[in-house]
């Protein structure tokens, strides 16, 4: 007799035995299968409730005309989606988001990689330095933004004071108002907070690179960049690609630092898509239109992420 679930020896059974096995399976397997589904039901229900239901509900709302003044729940067709295309502030916000992402992401990657290389070898106090470097990442972004707002304050902020020492006269740079300074200020804060995240992930990836290969390349006369390109990069690429993807998505959703530093100003010069969405949804109560914006962002991100995953070879 072979117990069901041990098919490795099933070929030793006679046809008569096979009938017995089939009968036993019919008796015992069905209750087991149903039971495991019952076990999964609460988790699936919870996921549907907190994940899919709001998504579906938002989609439904995006086809209505609910705003601060009206709660008109009748079907409004593509009214909100049509408005998206003529909303210049929305597209400007998307442009600002892309600008910040396009500048901050490569800098965070390069700085994180450089720092990871720096801390790859053993050195005195390495663990302490790594712990200190990671501190910005564990601070809430809204707190980080509020702190940087104080640091950038033109009257009481230490940044202007320190610059004043070097300049030899008081400096009253308006970091969050001057169009030439406001993006550098935002991007600097973003890089300060999130480069350590890149650093940690890349340090872990670099630590796993086979040293025998890099040493062999070195013996063969390969320079640093050649070794990096041919040996290290292919080895760390899967991890690096994930880090780029995570940080890229974070940057597209950037809200806290902008809100705390500039609230999207001056004017709407630094308004990102998240800030605009929040403003429309929770300050102006354009509920249905906000839902349409959210779905536009979901569609854009889905296309971009799918393309990026294929391009980065992560789908293999």
């Amino acid at each position: 007799m072979v117990l069901p679930g041990n098919p490795g020896r099933a070929f030793l059974l006679s046809p008569l035995d096979w009938n017995a096995v089939a009968a036993a399976t019919a008796l015992h397997a069905h209750p087991d299968r149903n039971f495991r589904y019952w076990l999964l039901t609460p988790a699936i229900f919870l996921l549907l409730l907190v994940g899919l239901f709001p998504l579906f509900y938002s989609l439904v709302v995006s086809f209505m005309r609910i705003d601060m003044m009206d709660t008109d729940t009748s079907f409004a067709g593509l009214y909100n989606y049509a408005n998206l295309f003529s909303d210049m502030r929305l597209w400007a916000a998307l442009g600002h988001t892309l600008l910040i992402t396009a500048i901050a992401l490569p800098i965070e990657l390069l700085l994180g990689l450089a720092m990871a290389y720096l801390f790859l070898d053993r050195m005195p106090g390495r663990q302490i330095f790594i712990s200190l470097l990671v501190l910005p990442t564990i601070i809430s972004p809204i707190v980080a933004g509020a702190t940087w707002r104080l640091l950038f304050d033109n009257r009481f902020g230490p940044i202007n004071q320190v610059l004043g020492w070097f300049a030899g006269h008081p400096v009253t740079a308006l970091w969050t108002l001057n169009p030439k300074l406001v993006y550098p200020a935002i991007i600097f804060c973003e890089i300060w907070q999130w480069t350590p995240f890149m650093f940690l992930i890349l340090l872990a990836a670099l630590s796993n690179v086979d040293k025998s290969q890099t040493e062999a390349a070195s013996i063969d006369g390969a320079g640093f960049f050649r070794t990096f390109r041919r040996i290290v990069l292919p080895a760390i690429w899967p991890v690096m690609a994930i880090a780029i993807l995570i940080r890229g998505l974070d940057l597209v959703r950037i809200f806290d630092i902008i809100w705390a530093l500039t609230a999207g100003g001056p004017g709407t010069m630094t308004e990102t898509i998240s800030v605009y969405t929040y403003s429309q949804g929770f300050k102006q109560f354009e509920t249905s239109y906000t839902a349409a914006i959210a779905f536009l962002v979901i569609v854009i991100l889905t296309v971009v992420v799918t393309w990026a995953i294929r391009r980065m070879g992560l789908a293999k």
Binding site: M69, P266, T268, F282, K283, Q284
Partner: protein, 482 residues
């Protein structure tokens, strides 16, 4: 060292003292509210209040006192003013009914009423005989900030008005006055009563004293700049809309002049003034770095060092100018009744009557007088009796002049613009102010702002908004009587 708990005890003691020394209470609206509220003893009412100093009133004074008198607990939900509208609307829309009583900025009332978030108070006012005491609220607030469509939705509870503060020792300096007369051929106006004089005096002080002190500083940060623009624009003769077409007219010559003058003023104001809000402006004035400024009433109290020795006020810079401050109406003579608060009842509340009784008690003549005198709270005089109260006038040597300036401001003040979806219009103004500090051209800024206002009006509905604007513009404080 006075702790927050001690303040509560002081407040309670003051409350009891008030109870026993004021026999008139027996017949007033406060006592009526207390008597009726006892039936709800053991219940809890939740009130939304601005976070920070404002909420020390219900936390340390009125909340504990109400509990003592009625047995009703008061739970205070502190919300930053920028989030208050959102929180109130979210609670209403969700049907949660988490809030019973509300602090509402009067300019929001049409939106909140239109959404159905506020309870009509007339039946309660009649039931608890509060109309007589309501009539004693200063006319500007009573007539303009209490009703929507002829019904009462909130009790005006905070006499917010901009006041011009000036240093009497600086503007009264004989050497400065002589030099001013030598340069301009006229006496230095103390205080300046129009913007031309204000700018001339301010620039002259900065130059004459080598910026010790600067002639003046202002709120320039966009959130405050919105109020400053609304005031000055109307004092320059500007109208927000063409009443016939509802086309925005903020890009008129008056609007462009205001923004152009602001840029010019910044050249003799302290460096970085573009980012100054309440605290920066306050610190500079109290530390004697500026000779003139415009702000809400608390500046006057704190400049005189009233109550600033308490622990909760430790963040307020020590005044170096007590006894050297004059109070006047802002240039143009029509100060902004900027923001302010009304007390309302949430339509989603499950304890409407208890909530109403609490706000009637808070707003009543006797209790409100105690509240506006609390040194740590930010409620400003708003009843005729507050302006003439001998006790208030004796709080510091110049308090009588201060109260007179507040009353004059209330009588001549300008209401914040209040339409359907007011915040959308104000958001455009806030963004316009920050664009100005980013270096954009005033005319281009206001042309763009007017276009955005028109788009907002179109979306809301021109006729619908026109009716609301006509109602607002007909109020006594909408535009100066030129």
């Amino acid at each position: 060292m006075v702790t927050r708990r001690d303040l509560g005890k002081i407040g309670l003691a003051a409350g009891f003292a008030g109870t026993f020394t004021r026999p008139a209470w027996a017949a007033d609206a406060a006592q009526a509210a207390v008597d009726a509220a006892k039936q709800y003893s053991g219940q809890t009412i939740t009130i939304v209040w601005e976070a920070g100093l404002q909420s020390l009133d219900p936390l340390n004074f009125s909340g504990p006192k109400w509990k003592e008198l009625t047995g009703i607990d008061v739970k205070v939900v502190e919300v930053p003013v920028a989030e208050m509208f959102t929180k109130i609307m979210q609670d209403f829309r969700s049907g949660a009914g988490a809030y019973d009583a509300l602090n509402v900025i009067p300019a929001w009332m049409p939106d909140l009423v239109n959404a159905g978030a506020l309870e009509v108070l007339d039946p309660f006012v009649d039931k608890y005989a509060y109309r007589d005491e309501l009539q004693k609220i200063a006319p500007t607030y009573r007539d303009n900030q209490m009703m929507v469509n002829g019904k009462i939705y909130g009790f005006p509870d905070d006499g917010d008005v901009f006041v011009m503060y000036y240093r009497t020792d600086v503007l009264g300096d004989p050497a400065l006055q002589a030099a001013y007369k030598a340069k301009f051929g006229t006496d230095l106006p103390v205080p300046p009563t129009n913007w031309k004089d204000f700018d001339q005096v301010g620039q002259f002080i900065t130059e004459f004293t080598s910026a010790k002190p600067y002639g003046a500083a202002f709120f320039r940060e966009s959130g405050y700049g919105n109020f400053m623009f609304q005031e000055r624009f109307r004092n320059e003769g500007g109208k927000f809309f063409d009443a016939d077409t509802m086309k925005a007219t903020i890009n008129s010559d008056a609007g462009i002049k205001v923004l152009t003058d602001w840029v010019a003023e910044n050249k003799w104001a302290p460096p970085g003034v573009e980012q100054w809000g309440f605290v920066e402006n306050l610190a500079a004035f109290l530390q004697g770095q500026t000779a003139m400024t415009i702000s809400w009433p608390p500046y006057g109290r704190w400049a005189a060092s009233y109550g600033t020795d308490q622990e909760v006020m430790s963040w307020v810079p020590k005044s170096t100018i007590a006894g050297k401050v004059g109070y006047a109406m802002t240039p143009g003579g029509h100060p902004e009744l900027a923001a302010g608060f009304c007390l309302s009842v949430s339509s989603a509340s499950k304890n409407k009557e208890a909530a109403y009784l609490f706000i009637q008690w808070l707003n009543s003549e006797s209790v409100s007088l105690e509240r506006v005198k609390l040194p740590y709270a930010l409620r400003d005089p708003f009843r005729d009796s507050h302006f003439t109260d001998p006790g208030y006038a004796a709080l510091w040597p110049e308090a009588k002049d201060y109260l007179a300036a507040l009353q004059a401001g209330a009588n001549n003040g300008l209401l914040d613009l209040s339409l359907l979806q007011t915040d959308k219009y104000e958001e455009v103004l806030r963004q316009s102010v920050s664009k100005l500090w980013a270096g954009e051209d005033p005319k281009a800024i206001l042309d763009a702002a007017a276009a955005e206002w028109d788009a907002i009006t179109e979306k809301i509905g021109v006729d619908k908004q026109k009716a609301v604007y006509a109602d607002w513009a007909s109020k006594s404080g909408a535009y100066p009587k030129m």
